[in-house]
Structures are given as structure tokens and as C-alpha cells.
């Protein structure tokens, strides 16, 4: 189960996190350190890691270093409780949301003195923002006021009003007010709600007053109450840590609290994200539209998974209604992907909701760049929602400024995860916001992807891929038949075979068969490719391996798996005494993806007929291919395979 305290949308920090923080400090005079600090900040950090990164950021600032593109912000926190351990998380959290914090923590429980004393840290520091992290105790609302609840409420409001007036008179800072969490202790029980003098009723009434005061005073609002409710006040308040250390809430929630403050600071500086880019297969619907077809997609009422995906779509629509731009980036056939939007009866999202629609076979970073350019927004305004961990890793490596939330395997958590990450934090909601969606949407246009080849650097190597290849065997039979019958897109010939047919290939002495599995550092992808070829004497007398079937799952596109499959086929063909590979591309409505595959792999086109069927050949034993970014393991010959005669 996902827990807010763990910020599960963030990845774990790298093993050399401490060294990277030290390198930042060592480099303090260099330009562009803000981007590196932000890159380190987008991990789930514990208190010590966050504090270390925070110290690195403040040392860079002290050394006069350049923290661009982070927006500098001098923030004072006035708290009536011990705030140091929450403060440990704040600079990292702010960097995550686009702000370089200069954090000042005056001694605790001195809020009014800080406002009134000209020599106070707050007054001297020239604060740009002041967060009032004051809880029920400061307002005197922790104890019942049964005799005169009205007075207790007015006293609390006057106390806050006096503080706000003093701060506004004496500083130029933007004020961040906080609502108050209600301790999980009731006086009467359910009757608390009807007793105006119970702490619960007092705090509820007071929170309404704080929201009004924020509006009147032009202050921002940190809804601590909402965070505590989302966590559960029983967990939020920790009596042991409260009495021992005067912590305002359990230390476990320091990171998420700081993230909420960081979101506010970022949003106030115009750094909130503007555009949600959606993957399609297994993100907006269950299944792969190119392979499963419209009827095979899991979406909508009738199944728990289908409802989960529908919830993602409805969440995207809700974001669009508040002004977030929607875009699509999917490795897919454009017509098939658009077809799902137009013709699937359960689709809540329509093409008209999508400002830019990128369904093609190019890498995602290039498509995200095209989307940002078309919308004329920065890459740092994008959020990518994608179920595929390898795609996420590639985008993070190539475009670290794009926000890419981690997603659990279970789609039930997708909408929750996206919304809990706080990418679209707002400090207002204007008429322009309402109109923005309409201004961008309607055309689902295709953006031009720059033709320059993207240097993926060591991304593919970093996936730590292990490819296992072997001939067909009984253990793989069911999955082989499934792949053969389900794969429509990366499939050269689209020949379909039953399990019985597959079993026959296992013992056919003239058949070369390959079942290919792939695993990477994110997990085992299982069987993802199948090749069937037949060794024969060609009409020109050459002994050749004729490819009967060659297919691959689209999940592993862009990883040079097809090159590896060719290398393995060449190896097996040579072992069988063939000197040539003959292969064919037979076009279907769905396999345009592999129209030029054989050209790309170095085959020579020898014929093409009117139906578009192309014949190719490739000599066996030619030049060795380039080194592949994966380890290839050859499974032993299957037990069911007879020795060659």
C-alpha cells in the first residue's frame, strides 16, 4: 500500500547521494548548480539526506554560487513548536518544486517578538516569505471553552490578527498562514460537533476564520489541517514526540509537510507544472490497443482494473477543467491510438481534450520536447504519467526537468499517486485558468518531432538488460503460441500458429526456432520475442534460412532487441549450414511499424509486389554487428529437441 509519508511518487536516492551532495559543495562557484540540486531533490529523502542536500544548497548560496534555474526565496518560519527537524526537509523540498530556499528559523515560540522587535532575525533578514507554523496551542484552542466559546474564538482571531498586522507593518514578506489540525481526542464524543466550546468545534470554526483572513490579507494558505486529515490525525499527532521534543507532529511526516510547503513556494514563484502528458497503453486503459484491439481493452465499469483506468481519465479531465493542459505521448500507431479515443464507448477522454497527440515510434524524450515546443512552454512545465518503468527512467535521464512520478504496478493507485505528488499546486484560480483548457484543446494536433537522432548515451547500458534465447520447448509452448497470435504490430508476416503447431516446430529438424526473454533492472519482462525459420535449398541452389515468422512485443522497442534477435538468428543459421537469410515483410493494417525493419537491419530488398509484400536477403557470416547493450545468455538445447540426424 502506498503511504503519503514515503512520497512514493519519488524514486529512491542514488547510492552515491552523499558523494553527489559533497561534489555540489566542492563545485560551489560553478554555474547551473540549481539544476543539479533539483535533480538530487527529486528523490524520496530521509531527514539526514534532505538536511545534507539543504546544507549543500545553502553553502552554494553563501559562496555566491549560481542556483539558477531555481528561484531564490528567503523564508522565515515562525513556529511555536520545535521546527528544526521539519526544517531539515524544507530546502530539498523547495528545490524539488523550483525554489532555492534561504531558510531562517528564529528561536521557537517567539512569533510576536520576531514581528515587533526591530533587532529580531525576521526583521533583520529581509524575509521574502514568512510561514506561520502555529498550532492549536498557540491560539489557545487546545482546551475546552464551554462557558464562553465565542470569546475563545475571538481571542484566537485577535491574536492572529495582531501578529499579521505587525508582520505586514514591519516586513515586506509574503505571509503563509496555516490552518490548524484537530488533535484526535474528543471531549464528549460525537457531541463535540454540537458543543461550540469543544476543541474540535472551536478549531473548525477558527479554520474557517483563517481561510477568510488569508483572503483579506492577501496571504497564501498552507492547509496543514488537510494534510493532517489525509494522513489521519491519529498518526499525525505523536504524543511521545510531542512531550519529549515538542514536535508539532510526528517526525515521520516531516518530508511530506515540507513538500507541501515547497509546492506553495514553487507555485507562488510560478514554478507549478502546466501540462500533463499521458501514456496510453496500460496507463489510460488496460492492454495494448495495437495488439489487443479495441474490444480487448480493459476500461470502464465491469472490472476493478477497468474502473481504475477510468479514474485516471476522469482525474485528467478534472485537471483540464482547472486549466492544466493535456497531451498524449505513446509508442503507438497513430490511427489505432486515435481510433481508441474516437470509438471506444468507455473513453471519458476525447480527442478534443488533448492539445497535442503524439502516437509514434520515436523515443519519448524527443516527443516531450516536441510537445513543449508546440505548446510554447518549458520542459519543466511537463508531467509525464507512464506505467513503463524503462520509459520513465529514459525520460528522467534525458530530461531531468520533466516530472515523472513513479507508479506502482496496481493501476488502482495511479490517480492517487498523480494527485498526491502536488505537481499542479495553485495559489489562485482565475478566469484565465478556466479558459486555458479551451484555448489549447480541440485539435489534438501532431507535433513535429525533430529528426536529429537522440544520443541515448549510456541509458541502454544502464538498464542492465539480460536477454535469454533458446529454441522452442514444452515449457515455453503456451506463451509462444500466445505471442504468435496476439502480436499485430511488430510482426513481419502475421502467420498464426496453435500450440499444437508450435509443438510440431519443436521437433522439426529443419526448423530454427528462437524464444527470447528479457529482464532488466526493473524486473523480468518475460518472453518478448519469437523467430521461426526453415532451412531449405533455394531455387538458385543456395542453402538458406527462410524466415517464417519474426515478432516482438512493442514493450521492448528502442532497446536494440531486434538487433540481438538478428544476431542470434545468424548464429543459428550458420550452425545449420545456411549461407543466406531470406525474409519477407507482409503488410497488414497494423504492422506498418516493421515496414522498414529489414532495411534498417541491413537486409537487401530483392522484390516487392503490388500488395506491398517485400522479399529480402542477407548473407550469413558477413561483418559482425555492433556491440549490443545487453548480456545475451543462450539457453541449453531443449530436452524435447532431438539431436540432428
Amino acid at each position: 500500500m502506498s503511504s503519503l509519508a514515503d512520497l512514493p511518487w519519488l524514486t529512491a536516492p542514488p547510492a552515491d547521494f552523499v558523494e553527489q551532495c559533497r561534489a555540489l559543495v566542492a563545485d560551489a562557484g560553478r554555474a547551473g548548480l540549481g539544476a543539479q540540486a533539483a535533480r538530487l531533490a527529486v528523490h524520496a529523502l530521509d531527514g539526514r539526506q534532505a538536511r545534507r542536500l539543504g546544507r549543500a544548497i545553502s553553502r552554494i548560496a553563501e559562496a555566491g554560487g549560481d542556483l539558477a534555474p531555481l528561484a531564490p526565496l528567503r523564508l522565515v518560519v515562525l513556529s511555536n513548536k520545535t521546527f528544526d527537524f521539519i526544517g531539515d526537509h524544507l530546502p530539498a523540498a523547495a528545490a524539488r518544486h523550483g525554489a532555492a530556499l534561504d531558510l531562517i528559523l528564529p528561536p521557537f515560540d517567539q512569533a510576536m517578538q520576531e514581528a515587533l522587535d526591530p533587532a529580531s532575525q525576521t526583521r533583520q533578514a529581509g524575509a521574502e516569505a514568512i510561514l506561520l507554523a502555529l498550532d492549536h496551542d498557540w491560539y489557545g484552542l487546545g482546551a475546552p471553552a464551554l462557558d464562553d466559546p465565542g470569546i475563545a474564538l475571538l481571542d484566537a482571531m485577535a491574536r492572529l490578527g495582531d501578529l499579521l498586522s505587525a508582520l505586514q507593518e514591519n516586513t515586506a514578506a509574503t505571509l503563509y498562514l496555516s490552518t490548524v489540525a484537530t488533535p484526535p481526542v474528543s471531549l464528549f464524543g460525537s457531541f463535540d460537533a454540537r458543543a461550540p466550546g469543544s476543541p474540535r468545534a472551536l478549531i473548525e470554526a477558527f479554520n474557517a476564520a483563517i481561510v477568510r483572513m488569508a483572503e483579506e490579507r492577501g496571504a497564501l494558505l498552507m492547509d496543514t489541517r488537510a494534510l493532517a486529515q489525509q494522513v489521519g490525525t491519529e498518526r499525525w499527532f505523536d504524543p511521545v514526540q510531542y512531550f519529549a521534543y515538542k514536535l508539532p507532529f510526528a517526525s515521520a511526516y516531516g518530508a511530506i509537510y515540507a513538500d507541501w510547503v515547497g509546492r506553495l513556494a514553487g507555485a507562488a514563484r510560478g514554478r507549478a507544472r502546466k501540462c500533463l502528458v499521458l501514456d496510453l497503453d496500460n496507463t489510460l486503459w488496460g492492454g495494448v490497443v495495437g495488439d489487443d484491439g479495441l474490444a480487448g481493452l480493459v476500461l470502464g465499469p465491469g472490472s476493478a482494473r477497468g474502473e481504475s483506468f477510468l479514474a485516471v481519465q476522469n482525474m485528467a479531465l478534472a485537471l483540464k477543467a482547472r486549466g492544466v493542459i493535456l497531451a498524449v505521448s505513446s509508442k503507438n500507431d497513430d490511427a489505432l491510438a486515435r481510433g481508441a479515443f474516437e470509438h471506444h464507448p468507455e473513453m471519458a477522454l476525447k480527442l478534443a481534450d488533448i492539445a497535442v497527440f503524439q502516437a509514434n515510434w520515436r523515443d519519448k524524450p524527443s516527443n516531450l520536447e516536441a510537445i513543449a515546443e508546440t505548446l510554447n512552454i518549458g520542459l519543466d512545465a511537463l508531467v509525464l504519467l507512464d506505467d513503463n518503468p524503462a520509459e520513465r527512467a529514459q525520460v528522467r535521464a534525458a530530461l531531468p526537468m520533466v516530472a515523472v512520478p513513479e507508479l506502482p504496478a496496481d493501476p488502482a493507485w495511479f490517480a492517487w499517486t498523480l494527485m498526491s505528488a502536488g505537481y499542479f499546486e495553485a495559489v489562485g484560480f482565475s478566469a484565465e485558468d478556466r479558459l486555458r483548457a479551451a484555448a489549447y484543446a480541440g485539435d489534438a494536433r501532431r507535433a513535429e518531432v525533430k529528426a536529429t537522432a537522440r544520443d541515448l548515451g549510456d541509458y541502454l547500458t544502464s538498464l542492465d538488460m539480460r536477454l535469454t534465447a533458446g529454441p522452442f520447448d514444452a515449457a515455453g509452448r503456451t506463451r509462444i503460441a500466445q505471442l504468435i497470435n496476439k502480436t499485430n504490430q511488430f510482426n513481419l508476416t502475421n502467420r498464426r500458429y496453435s500450440e499444437g503447431d508450435v509443438a510440431a516446430f519443436e521437433t522439426d529438424p529443419a526448423a530454427i526456432t528462437l524464444q527470447i526473454r528479457l529482464a532488466d533492472r526493473f524486473g523480468d519482462l518475460g518472453m518478448i520475442g519469437v523467430v521461426i525459420a526453415r532451412v531449405r535449398e533455394a531455387s538458385d541452389g543456395v542453402r538458406e534460412a527462410g524466415v517464417d515468422s519474426w515478432l516482438m512485443s512493442c514493450r521492448v522497442l528502442g532497446r536494440q532487441v531486434e538487433e540481438a534477435m538478428l544476431a542470434l538468428l545468424l548464429e543459428r543459421a550458420a550452425a545449420a549450414g545456411a549461407t543466406r537469410i531470406a525474409a519477407q515483410y507482409r503488410p497488414t493494417a497494423k504492422n506498418g511499424l516493421v515496414r522498414d525493419l529489414l532495411d534498417r537491419l541491413g537486409f537487401t530488398l530483392v522484390a516487392e509486389d503490388e500488395a506491398g509484400v517485400r522479399d529480402y536477403v542477407l548473407a550469413v557470416g558477413g561483418t559482425a554487428g555492433a556491440a549490443l547493450p545487453m548480456r545475451i545468455e543462450r539457453a541449453a538445447e531443449g530436452a524435447s529437441r532431438p539431436r540432428p540426424p
Partner: protein
Amino acid sequence: MNRDELRAKVQDILRDIVDDDTVTITDDTVAEDVVDWDSTNHVRLIVAVEEEFHIRFETDEITKPESVGELLDLIQVKLAT
């Protein structure tokens, strides 16, 4: 985990908190022996120990240990229950 391994882990955490990789602790070490082991860092240490070993201290336990040895005793008791 034996006591030496436990002490080494606590030492790692303390080094991280006071940002000094040369700090070495024994059972007799007290806070005054380590530069920057102040009351704020002591709370950081206790909270980090709780997280690291997945244990929770009660109020009396938090205030009791006066040396590294006593803290290790307490962790070992907690880990055993």
C-alpha cells in the same frame, strides 16, 4: 546483529548527522565527547535510530540513556522484543 555491528551502525548515523567521518564512538562515549552532538542533534539521532531499526521508544526510554553504551543496551532490548 551483534553489539559491534550495532555500534558501527549508530556510529555511521552519528557521523552523518554531525557531518564528520572521523567520529569514533565506544560504549563510554557521551554527547559531550563529540563536537556538535548537541540537544538538537541528539533528537535527530534518536529519530534516525528509530527509523533505522524500526523501533519506537517510550517517553522514559528517550530520556534515559546517558552514554552510547546505554543507548545500545536500549536498542538491543527493543530489538529483542
